[in-house]
């Protein structure tokens, strides 16, 4: 609890979007376009090896982020006072805004192409159906909660009088959701390991 009081660089929320928001958003976009471009390259080159690499790397990065957020960042944020959480949200939200949807979309799309190319995309297979069900849950959480919360944080920050409590609440909701996504991703990796071996 003393972290926010002891840290002199932590400021209370100031009205309007901070000047670094745009540069963080640009950075997020620059990184976020890499996975779909890599997937386009893998398919254009007809490289199964590269397609597998893109799928595993994007899926692994997505899972890793959610594990880090759910297990580590959540504990750090809980120990901070609301103004300090808002300062983290101001930087975390724009930085992850394009990267995470891009990683998730590419991991899923590359996975479907990979399953089709390997002849594993059989909708009668319970393991493929299990993977599909988990993907639907992950996508619904992403589109239904993660993304809207991120946008709502932006909108709140852009107001003349932002509500720090609301920003903190939305940020903590996303952090908790990342933990639940991590659980589903551990499950989907279990399914993937089965599909890869059997």
């Amino acid at each position: 609890m003393a972290v926010a009081q002891d840290a002199p660089s932590v400021q209370t929320a100031s009205p309007g979007l901070p000047p670094y928001t745009k540069s963080l958003l640009k950075w997020s976009f620059a990184i976020g376009v890499i996975p779909p471009v890599a997937l386009v390259a893998a398919l254009a080159l007809k490289s199964l090896y590269m397609l597998d690499y893109v799928h595993v790397l994007t899926g692994g990065a997505w899972t890793g982020f959610d594990l880090y957020t759910g297990l580590i960042l959540s504990r750090i944020l809980r120990s901070l006072e609301v103004p300090a959480r808002v300062e983290v949200a101001k930087r975390l939200t724009p930085t992850t805004f394009f990267i995470l949807p891009s990683l998730s979309a590419v991991a899923i799309t590359a996975g479907i192409y990979l399953a089709q190319k390997l002849g594993e995309f059989n909708l009668n297979d319970p393991w493929i159906l299990a993977a599909g069900a988990i993907v639907i849950i992950l996508v619904a959480q992403g589109f239904g909660i993660f993304l809207p919360n991120g946008v709502r944080i932006f909108l709140e920050l852009a107001k003349a009088k932002p509500d720090p409590a609301l920003i903190s609440k939305l940020t903590m909701r996303n952090v908790r959701l990342a933990a639940s996504q991590a659980v589903f991703q551990i499950l989907i990796i279990l399914v993937m390991a089965h599909l890869a071996v059997y």
Partner: protein
Amino acid sequence: MNASALLAIVAFAGALLLVFGYLYRIAAKSHAKGELADEGIRILRWALLGQLVIFLILAITAFLT
């Protein structure tokens, strides 16, 4: 062309537009009340454009399989 892949990507992009459309309405109301600066609306448009560019690149993949 992989029609089912293209359809799935278009469906995702459609869901994205629905979510942003809903949030845009909320933002426009706040803007009309004077609570939200022009910058808020502008950043919402750029955010939507950025997400659509990512989906557009992804849609190209449907024509490569």
